[in-house]
Amino acid sequence: MKKNVAVIFGSKSVEHEISIITANQILNAIDRNKYNVIPIYISKNGIWYTGSILENLENFKDVQSVLKKAKKIRFLEKKNSQLLIKSNLKTYEIDICLLATHGTYGEDGSLQGFCEMMDIPYTGAGVLSSAVSNDKVITKQLLKENNIPVVDFNFITKHEWDSSYEKFIKSCENQFGYPMFIKPSKLGSSIGITKVNSKDEFINAAELAFSFDNKILVEKSIENAREFNCAVMGYKNILVSEVEEIIKKSHFFDYTEKYINNGKKFSNHKIPANVDEITKQEIIKLAKKTFKALDCCGNIRIDFLFNDKIYVNEVNTIPGALAFYLWEATGITFTHLIDNLINIAEEVYKDKKNKTYSIDVNILSLKVEK
């Protein structure tokens, strides 16, 4: 019996388009001898669609026409072990959700929470670790607590900023000195991130970052840093992929460079990284520690900065393209990576089912002896 796998992508996120690309890659790689695949696209305003029109990336060049031709999902329901998804004409039975969403409403715990409520297995990290990893400030605090090196940082909310930004800037200047990095706490793909060299730039960058999030963080800049990434996968084990180096072209790796430049993706990825064995082992050790500290499962990508020391810079619980290229370099094909994500999702679900969530005693009806 083939499992019915829903590949969910899009959603209300600035990384919406990147998610469409990730999903498309998944749809091309997934083993159709093993799974029936149902693509589910969540539009930018949160409406769910399905239909084979979603399978072809080309169609998304004209999103309006995709939305017209796709089947709108009207109703969702749990029946036995399956999630039923109903359009006007058809009902789709789903056994497992493969999440290909990035950023808000997809990678931040919300969609994961939806799957939990619907009681359906889903791929990747759970609600807690998704939510934590999606917030750079909370992530850094947690990693620090676990003695995992992170770049020195400071943070502030919009309300605090409005009332006391002068004081905050002063303290950052004293703490780090220029240049610094200003980032929204909750985004990915380098959106809303600026490197600043003066107080004026600081203020502008902060305003920009606040347009994406209510909390921003400020980091000391690690000058001339090399950037390494690796993927970590597992549930019962913690398995680390080959390490890659990102060769930077502009002053920092931004959205345009990562996804738009000549349409040439990965041209600046060097796999395996040209790095000495000791540093590599240190990266692997920190990667495992980070995966554990964040209570992850599934497949994540961890980004590191390195000058003379390694820092964990960022964690992506649903990495772009699922970081398949890192696993390929480790001897695991994209197709097998997807098998693994599904396998882990089912293992997690099975273990959860074996836990007790309700007790057969109605406290309200207990007689209390006086």
Partner: protein
């Protein structure tokens, strides 16, 4: 590292330190095929290119799995290995099983993943295909210079492995696919872990069930969504099962 055994140069790699785990890859693979597993283990791992694959020499003439097994056993023993677990995938598993049936002193455990060696009743379609090929071959043999036509026929009726192998290796494959090691499996004394994918179409689960019946101290684990590469398809679960097995068999060492 290159080592000469029976006049053949055999390529092998070792990684890590600790107790020894030896890997034998499947047909058409090489020592890298099982490296994803080896690199995640906290043991000394030995990865071998089987003769005719990777950077090892081609055998001088077509050989059987038994000859493969004796070459590899010699290689292992020439390294002075006195305690090891042997892991084989597919064809490599069959070789590992033959070595294990000799019950060498050093063998502490055996892991067979999706390995052939027990003949099943072929489905009618497969039988028909083979029969047709044999019949046609007879007819064509009457004519001289028929190798080209035969090649075409083989492409039409042969398996993927068969199509991809050339010359000596093709003849070797012919020998090995026709072997049945059922009787040998009964001889194996060591603890054995069998790993199969339920969706395997190359070596179906039925073979795994047969292996489990024939081997005395075996345990079969089946992965629901896996096919012929369960160790990669269910990487996390496999490593967990493997690590449990390894720590159990090495416990008393």
């Amino acid at each position: 590292m290159k080592i000469k055994i029976n006049g053949l140069t055999i390529n092998l790699e070792t990684h890590g330190k600790g107790k020894i785990v030896i890997f034998l890859h499947g047909w058409g693979g090489n020592l890298h095929s099982l490296f994803p597993v080896a690199r995640q283990l906290n043991y000394k791992t030995v990865l071998i290119d089987l003769p005719g694959f990777g950077q090892s020499d081609l055998p001088n003439s077509p050989i059987s799995s038994f000859e493969y097994a004796s070459i590899i056993q010699k290689l292992i023993e020439s390294r002075g290995i006195n305690k090891a677990v042997l892991i084989g995938h597919s064809f490599g598993g069959k070789i590992a099983a033959i070595i294990a049936s000799k019950n060498p002193e050093w063998l502490k455990g055996l892991v067979l993943i999706s390995s052939p060696g027990v003949k099943l009743k072929k489905s009618l379609f497969v039988q028909l295909k083979k029969y047709t090929y044999k019949a046609l071959k007879k007819i064509i043999s009457i004519f001289p210079n028929n190798e080209k036509i035969l090649e075409k026929l083989r492409n039409l009726f042969g398996s993927e492995d068969f199509k991809n192998s050339k010359g000596i290796m093709r003849e070797t494959l012919k020998i090995v696919v026709n072997e049945d090691i059922s009787n040998i499996l009964r001889e194996i004394e060591s603890k054995t872990l069998l790993i199969w994918g339920k969706k395997d179409r190359d070596v179906p689960l039925k073979v795994g069930i047969k292996f489990n019946e024939l081997i005395k101290n075996s345990k079969l684990i089946v992965y629901e969504n896996a096919a012929h590469f369960p160790y990669l398809e269910n990487f996390d679960t496999f490593l967990n099962d493997l690590n449990n097995f390894l720590s159990e068999v090495f416990k008393h060492e």
